[in-house]
């Protein structure tokens, strides 16, 4: 069975924290529910939330903070 993933809704720059000094939205190993914000994507100077569509345990991030991401790109792996 394929792994469940959280995808970026838009292309842009990915961030794991709401601001440089803040705590990350989630850490690897945290439990997330549908609608849980796991990061931000900056697109053309505006910020959009990346949300989990499923519930599960966030296994690991597939991109680092400040990496460029494409629309639909996998951001993190979601385990049971």
């Amino acid at each position: 069975m394929p792994e469940k993933t959280i995808k970026s809704p838009l292309p842009g720059t990915f961030y794991r924290r709401p601001s440089p000094d803040a705590e990350p939205f989630v850490n690897e190993g945290d439990r997330v529910e549908p609608g849980h914000v796991v990061g931000l994507v900056e697109i053309m100077k505006s910020f959009h939330e990346v949300k989990s569509e499923d519930s599960g345990v966030l296994g690991r991030f597939l991109v680092d903070s400040e990496d460029a991401v494409e629309a639909g790109q996998d951001i993190a792996v979601l385990g049971d």
């Binding site: 720059t13 697109i43 053309m44 100077k45 505006s46 460029a68």
Partner: protein, 445 residues
Amino acid sequence: MQKVLIANRGEVALRVIRACRELGLDTVAVYSTADETARHVRVADEAVCIGKAPARSSYLNVDAILDAARRTGADAVHPGYGFLAENARFAGACQDAGLTWVGPSPRAIEQMGDKAVARELARAAGVPVVPGTAGAVGLEEALRSAQDVGYPVMVKAAAGGGGRGIRVAHDADELRRCVTAAGREAQAAFGDASLYVEKVIARPRHIEVQVLGDGHGGAVHVYERECSLQRRRQKLLEESPAPNLPPQTREAMATAAARLAAAVDYASAGTVEFIVDDSGAFFFIEMNTRIQVEHPVTEMVTGIDLVKEQLRLAAGAPFDFDQDEVQPRGWAIEFRVNAEDPDADFLPSPGEITAFDLPGGPGVRVDTAAYAGYKVPPFYDSLVAKLIVWGRDRAEAIARGRSALSEFRIEGIRTTVPFHRRILEEPAFTAGEYHTESVAEFALA
């Protein structure tokens, strides 16, 4: 000055390259890995990759830009607008590296970057400012000042500007909460918690004056631009002259702006921003220490090439015109064509442009770095083109605007072209009776 590095991208990088070329200056483009196929890279004499796509790694990367200048032997830097254009440390670092900085002094950038300091400089130069506090203040003085000028008041971050870091308070309780929250926000966003208080001017017009300074107390103005057509404090359309502005108000604003530029020994191009209330009284709000996106409307009505003037002044040349030679002629309107969907709350719309047919004909100018097949990257500003039209009078400019917008075909991405077509049919717009709240009231956006 022989070789200019342009520390920017997109249409403004092309704009600067063109001005350099006319003056016989060599050009160096810099670019990120996302901009390998960008037009500024192809058009410049040389081009240097300065880092990865996110601006922080490339167009905001001071060390990489200075290194590109050193490697190519550039002896001057033009910052364009945005990115590092109003960064005093970058301006200083360029000068320390022996490069000519095409812009105002680091000191002027810093002074005007602190909006509370700028207010005091304007007041000292005899330029009216919005009633409010003298400089940055704490809570007690904010409350006292609000009592004096009357609620509602705006709490603004001294390090903010361009509409960022602003809160409105309608009474003392709300002001207390605003000061706490705004201070915290300003600290996080700008690293500076300083705040000041201004009276709210209801439904104001936003009119700015273009100035040029020689850095030695000489300054001229090049008249005004009407910039009230904004959405969430972002300008969408600008025109010059400002419609229905009494001639004596216009002259008073323009000379006040030039007086402020002269008082601070301003060098290069700058813009003094005012708000105008419904009685026609005008008040200084801030000065932008860069060439602005909307500079072409001024070029169209005055015939003065502002970017070329910046380069000439940076090279130490005197003004090549006197104040009384600045005689605006006709009317110009600029439409900002952004990669945004006006029917979906202006959601950014990057991606590949599949068709790109430009309008043309008399009085039509398009400043763009886009082309058919170009992929608008998601990392930077959404501006893809500026359409500027000129006519002998406002009616002719509007007619040319309608014609040009109907001809402008951009496919593959959503743009603000349909929004502009609708604006030109708004009776309040065609009557020239609009203010900074009008776009929301038109219910187009």
